[in-house]
């Protein structure tokens, strides 16, 4: 069922490209062999056809993805997303150690020494090397 749905999603993306993305987000040029739309349109048609084919013949399951609990993964993704947003808002130095600490805790680490290392290592080392030593800017 999942396989058929993914096929439908691919076909739907093909339709979205043809109906909206390509007409609105490319410019029309009146000359030349390969127009800006030529290759995207070919890809969109291919996606539509392949997606429909997948919906009809889902076939073998494909590469089996690694087993992950979807809930936990979604939680980690949300935390990281929030961290990246906060970094663009408040800067690297205040945010990175907090993000690292949260992730170390989410991974279930409860030993103080390791938590400290997780918080300290990457953020502080990056800051020392990039900002202080190389004089390049961080977020």
């Amino acid at each position: 069922m999942m396989a058929r749905l993914s096929g439908l999603a691919v076909a739907g993306f093909g339709v979205l490209l043809l109906a909206w993305l390509i007409p609105v987000h490319t410019e029309t040029v009146g000359y030349g062999w390969l127009r800006p739309q030529t290759l995207p349109r070919a890809c969109a048609v291919a996606l539509l056809v392949l997606g429909l084919a997948l919906t009809i013949w889902p076939g073998p399951a494909g590469e089996p993805g690694p087993e992950v609990a979807p809930g936990r993964l979604a939680f980690v993704v949300v935390v990281v997303c929030a961290g990246i947003w906060a970094m663009s808002r408040f800067g690297f130095l205040p945010v990175a150690p907090v993000l690292a600490a949260l992730l170390v805790l989410i991974c279930g680490e409860r030993r103080w020494a390791w938590i400290a290392l997780g918080v300290g290592l990457a953020p502080v080392l990056s800051w020392l090397v990039v900002d202080v030593l190389l004089n390049r800017s961080l977020p």
């Binding site: 004089n135 390049r136 800017s137």
Partner: protein, 310 residues
């Protein structure tokens, strides 16, 4: 605070002129470069930053903001406060082309910036193999007419438009889009193109005698090839002049603008920077200050409009 006062004192020390006002930056100056790290223009910008810092005592932090040949950087630059703490180095052509063709999509205009200084203009040539049966544009067009058209490689939109101008009387030049000067030279040498634009990679091949220069595509002739006439001199009133320049968000105030401009022009005249400009762009620093740089951009707008037939 003390550091800044010393910086200001140093700044006053190096400038004999009375044009220096009281202004000095209140923290590190950010010099944004509209290109990725590691290229010659990146190194050039970093050297200008370093020389400026050495001469004035200010802290100059150089940051790369690549994307769209500088459009991404200028988009961001137009939104920061006009306090003289953030300036950006880019190249004129992509800005002028996008302001001409898709002004509605570009969130800034020429007036969004105060112009500080021009660095130099990239030397753009039209070259061909030594054994090509032509030596100038008229010969190239004749060759194209007498064969199945001539393939001419280019690596930026304005160059293609210049070819369209050459083609206006039914010429048979066929533009081929490539990615870089290096790719263009490779395809010329391999005999896959009849002629090509080039911004410097061709110079050693002129020395070795494998390539010859057909025209300078800039407004003026090139210092290393003073005998090769420009496209304009060959009868087509058109040119492509990609100028590297430095600007700040509009509203600096005259004193801030002149302090920054003088510091930048002094840095560009330092020996290391002169060398770097020579090595990267094959020319001398332009030496243009605020007014001349703004005039260059205004003239460039008119020229690009001509290129696009607007």
């Amino acid at each position: 605070m003390l550091k800044h006062m010393i910086g200001a004192a140093l700044a006053l020390g190096v400038s004999a002129g009375a044009a220096w006002a009281d202004w000095a930056p209140s923290g590190p100056i950010k010099l944004w470069i509209g290109f990725g790290a590691g290229g010659e223009t990146d190194t050039l910008g970093r050297l200008i930053g370093k020389e400026m810092s050495d001469a004035t005592g200010w802290t100059v932090v150089v940051e790369n903001k690549p994307g769209g040949g500088g459009i991404a950087m200028f988009t961001q630059l137009a939104t920061v406060p006009a306090d003289g703490q953030t300036i950006g180095m880019g190249v004129s052509m992509p800005v002028l082309v996008n302001l001409t063709v898709r002004a509605d999509q570009v969130p800034f205009t020429l007036d969004s910036f105060d112009y500080l200084a021009s660095v130099a203009s990239a030397q753009l040539a039209i070259v061909a193999r030594k054994d090509a049966p032509f030596d100038d544009l008229a010969g190239l067009l004749d060759h194209a007419a007498s064969s199945d058209g001539a393939l001419v490689g280019f690596d930026a939109k304005p160059q293609e438009l210049l070819l369209n101008v050459l083609n206006k009387d039914g010429g048979a030049l066929r533009p081929v889009s490539m990615k870089s000067s290096a790719e263009l030279v490779q395809n010329l040498l391999g005999g896959h193109l009849d002629a090509a634009f080039n911004a410097g990679t061709h110079i050693p091949y002129l020395d070795s005698g494998e390539l010859k220069m057909i025209a300078s595509a800039n407004a003026g002739r090139h210092s290393y090839a003073p005998d090769t006439p420009t496209v304009r001199e060959q009868g087509y009133d058109i040119y492509v002049d990609p100028v590297f320049y430095i600007a700040a968000p509009a509203g600096l105030g005259d004193d801030v603008q002149s302090v920054l401009s003088d510091a930048l022009l002094a840095a560009m005249n330092a020996d290391t920077v002169r060398d770097a400009i020579q090595n990267a762009l094959h020319t001398e620093p332009s030496g243009d200050g605020p007014e001349a740089t703004r005039a260059m951009m205004d003239d460039g707008m008119k020229n690009v409009a001509t290129l696009f037939g607007k």
